[in-house]
Structure formats: C-alpha cells, structure tokens
C-alpha cells in the first residue's frame, strides 16, 4: 500500500496525447498554477492552503528548549509532515511511505537549509535556552503537487506567526504571555518557494503544478527552489527518466516568475489578515505613536 492506484493505460495515453496538443485536463496553460487560496486561522501561524483540489493546514508553534550542545547560539526549527489516511485513502496511518520521505526532504532543503528562518535570532540565553519552532503540516486533501503547496503553507505560516516575548533578567528567562506583551514576529531572511515541474516525452514537454493524474502520467519531476531575488537555493531531480540540462536553465526563469506571483498572493493575504487583527489587537493599543 501507500501508493495511489495506478492510472489505466488509456487514461495515461489520453493525458499524454492531450499534452502533445498543448491541452491539459483542466484547461490550464503548461506554466499556469491552479487557483491558489491562502487563508489564516484565528491563532498566529495557522494557515490553510488550497491549491486547486490539494489542500493542507500548516500550524506553527514555539516552545522554549535547550539548544544543541554543538550549536549554543542557534535555536531549533523542525518541519513535521506526517501523511495520514485523511489526505488520501492510499496512505496508511502511522507508516512512512516514499512520498512522505521525499517531500519532507525537499521541504527541509528548500526552507530549512536555505536559512529562510534565521535560527540565530531564536537564541534566548547562550547554551541554556532557545526557541524551538515547529511547523506541522496536515494534508487534508491530496491532488498532486504536495511539495509546492506545503512550501507555500510553511512560508506563509512563518511570516504570520508571532512568538511570545522572552527576556533575560539576572540570568533568568522570563516568557511573557501573548496578552502581556506584544508578540514578536519571526526573523525571516528571505522567502524561498519551490516550484515543481513534471516532464513528458523525454523532457520535451514540461508543465508546472501537476495534478495527481498528471503526476502519475509523468516521466520525471524537477524541483527548483528559488526566492524573490532570483537566488536559486535548491535544484533537484531525484528519479525518473533523464531531463535535458537546458530545461533547468529555461525553467528557472519560469520558476522565478511563479515565485513572485505566489509571494504576492501570500503578502496580500497577510496584509489583509494583519489589518483585520490590528483593529481589535493589542498592537494598536500599545503603540507609542499618537494619531494626529
């Protein structure tokens, strides 16, 4: 188990032949995303991402822990993603499948290893206490392109999340509650996102944001992690048939364009949410500035 039911030969041929005529099943262009909706929950760092029919919920949480001995100045950041039978009946509860390992690895590389979240800013007291940030990804509906959807969710969550304020007084760490002091935003160094391409016909046809059926019909996938400034922080092609090197070069510019587009959607949703919160939040009351 832990594998989706394979496509029938006729269905695969239908998808392939349609693609050869530049037609996708849902009528999209080859480099067009499905409609993306990012919304935020009541608490900080609660994000719901809906990408076509793929949907997931990301929850960011923070707690104070002891840093690793070899890195006393660094806080901790973990991405936890467990695929349950909720997302797809093909996934078994409590058992790690190939997809889970693969997606977790890519997310780790794109978000964590590219230092999107500045872990040094999470240090409270050297070698004694630091913040541990945890991003939980709950996949609620799986219809392809899990990597990009999860990446969008995590990045939006990190930008939305506010942790409690902590200060050190006489060697003692004091953590103030959310209603005692204005919570602090996380230090985001850059906003990388992944864009997944799927290739068909020996790399001659390349599409982005494949649905589950298109994923199953494809020969290989190429993941490019890139930020708004155009810095490529991750490129991978794990398995499948060979892909021409020029695809990577060509598609990097497409990826950049898409990342800018997605980041704009995230920013818009964030602004809307923050302005809604500002009306009844504490940030407004505790502002030193006066309306003149």
């Amino acid at each position: 188990m832990n594998k989706e039911a394979p496509l029938s030969i006729t269905e695969r041929d239908f998808i392939l032949n349609a693609l050869r005529e530049d037609v996708r099943l849902d009528g999209r262009e080859a480099d067009q995303l499905r409609p993306l909706k990012v919304s935020f929950g009541e608490e900080y760092g609660h994000v719901k991402v809906q990408l076509g029919r793929t949907s997931l919920i990301v929850r960011i949480s923070a707690e104070v822990t002891k840093p690793h001995d070899d890195r006393p100045f660094d806080g901790l950041f973990t991405i936890a993603m467990e695929l349950t039978a909720m997302g797809s009946p093909a996934w078994d509860n409590g058992r790690q499948g190939d997809l889970e390992t693969y997606v977790t690895n890519v997310l780790d590389r794109v978000v964590r290893h590219s230092n999107a979240l500045d872990t040094e800013s999470l240090c409270i007291l050297k070698g004694v206490s630091c913040w541990s940030i945890r991003a939980d990804v709950h996949v609620t509906d799986y219809d392809g392109n899990l990597i990009d959807a999860a990446c969008i969710g995590i990045m939006a969550g990190l930008q939305h999340f506010r942790r409690q304020d902590a200060v050190v007084k006489d060697g003692q760490v004091i953590v103030y509650g959310l209603d005692e002091r204005v919570p602090v935003a996380l230090n985001i160094t850059h906003k990388p996102l992944s864009v997944t391409f799927h290739t068909f016909d020996e790399g001659k046809r390349v599409i982005i944001d494949a649905t589950r059926k298109e994923e199953q019909a494809s020969e290989a996938d190429v993941v490019i992690g890139i930020n708004n400034a155009g810095d490529v922080c991750f490129v991978s092609k794990f398995s499948g048939s060979p892909v021409d090197a020029m695809v990577f070069v060509d598609k990097t510019s497409v990826a950049l364009e898409k990342v800018k587009e997605i980041n704009a959607i995230i920013d818009k949703a964030l602004q809307a949410d923050l302005s809604k919160r500002a009306k009844n939040g504490m940030a407004e009351q505790s502002r030193a500035e006066n309306d003149r």
Binding site: M1, G41, E42, E43, H46, R53, S55, I57, R59, I60, S61, A80, E82, T84, A85, M86, G87, S88, P89, N93, G94, R134, D136, H138, T140, D141, Y142, D143
Partner: protein
C-alpha cells in the same frame, strides 16, 4: 450556552469527513473515515467475521505520543460497539478513522486527554455518518469537571481541568443508555451520580429524567441537548443531499 459547530464532508478524497468546533475549549477537530478498505498483511490480527476499526489521533502541534495511543484505544472501543462490522462488504475490511486537531490548543505532554475526548468522539461519529458506514446507534458525549468545592463544570477549559478534583467523560447512546464512562481523579459514588445526572441532562435534555422543577433549571443553563445538535447537523446535511429528490416530490 452556544452549541458546537459542525460541518459534514468538508474533504474531497476521504470517503467521509467532518469538521467539528467545540465552543468551550475552542478546539477544532477534523476527522476523516475511509471504509471499507483493504487491510494488508495483518490478516491474523483481525476477526474473520467482522470489520477492523482503526483509529488514529494526530495532535496539532506536537509529535504523537502515549496520550494519543491511550485515547485511540478508548475511541476504538466505543466505535467498535457502534459500527455494524458484519454488514455486507465489511467483514475482513478496515474502517480507518483519522482525527486531527487542526485548530485551538493541543493537549500538552502529560496532560489529560479527557477534555478533548467528547470532541474527538463527536467528530468520529459525524465522519462515520458522512461516510455512510452502517451504525447501530448514534451517541453524544460530554466532559464534566468537579472542582474542589464540589461544583460541576461543564466542558472545562485547560486551566479548570488542571485544577479540578476529578474529570469525567460520559457518552450516552441515542436511547439514553450509558455507553462510555471514563473518569480521572478522586471522587465518591454520590459525586458520580450527580455527574451522571448532569451529563444525561446535557446530552438528552431533561425529558429523559422527568420534569422536576429543579432539573428544568439545569436545562436552561445547558441549552439545547447535544443529541439534538448532532441530529440537526445530520438532518441539514441529508436535506441538502436529497434536495433533488425532495424538490421532485
């Protein structure tokens, strides 16, 4: 008191699903049911004439631990009695129930899971109904805390539950029979009787006890009985699902 808010079938891929928001604890539970499914490689573990019920509880912001395994056992016990696992197509198959806390506070490490248990049970029931799994009955559940002064608090917050002398989760079948009784802490029989009465009033209203003046007041405090809320949610859903048929008549 505001009743819980529930939505049936919010998910596309699972066979049945439900989203449940508990107003007092603020927790938002998403549940999904896949049934009947093939269970690979565990043939020996299951009874040949019945369906196997699998429950998986996923906390919102922490890795799953002992607390989840414990509460999975309780839920499995209740659902096992509910599901008609001998119906056509169900023997030797699995009923996979997945429950995730997608909003509100998660249960902290080592804290009691009883405060979240009724919400989990209700979500599981609604998801089963949404998946059209054959059931012998429906139920409603509630959690009550007894404070040091002997006061009974309905659906306590995390702080109230931590300060309480004892915690009780009771579930009643649609006919008013006691289905589940999980208690924690020190209490005597007299307290439990009171808790039982109050829980029955919450789940079924006072009509089940008889119209005593004193108890009628309790009903005002508790508002609409939970059984009714569950029923209404389902009725609404069925009404929407069969709109084509109703309109045709």
């Amino acid at each position: 008191m505001v009743g819980p808010a529930a939505t049936l079938t919010p998910l596309a891929r699972a066979d049945g699903s439900a989203s449940y928001q508990c107003p007092s604890t603020g927790s938002n539970i998403l549940g999904s049911v896949n049934a009947p499914v093939e269970l690979p490689g565990r043939r020996d573990a299951l009874k040949p004439e019945e369906a196997t019920v699998e429950v998986f509880v996923k906390p919102g912001t922490a890795p799953a631990g002992v607390g989840e395994r414990y509460v999975e056992g309780i839920i499995k016990g209740v659902l096992g009695r509910l599901i008609l696992g001998r119906e056509r197509g169900y023997p030797r198959r699995g009923v996979v129930v997945t429950l995730a806390t997608v909003g509100g506070d998660s249960v902290g490490r080592g804290d009691s899971y009883l405060t979240l248990l009724p919400a989990l049970l209700h979500t599981a029931l609604l998801a089963l109904l949404s998946a059209s799994v054959p059931l012998s009955m429906t139920f409603s559940a509630t959690v009550l805390a007894v404070s040091d002064s002997g006061e009974i608090i309905r659906e306590p917050s995390t702080e109230q539950a931590a300060a309480a002398k004892s915690l009780h989760v009771l579930a009643f079948s649609s006919k008013g029979h006691l289905l589940l009784n999980e208690s924690q802490g020190a209490f005597d029989f007299e307290t439990w009787e009171k808790v039982h009465q109050r829980a029955l009033a919450i789940c079924h209203g006072t009509s089940a006890i008889g119209s005593d003046g004193d108890v009628a007041m309790v009903e005002d405090v508790d508002g609409q009985p939970l059984e009714g809320t569950i029923r209404e949610t389902i009725e609404d859903q069925v009404h929407r699902d069969y709109a084509w048929k109703i309109d045709a008549v």
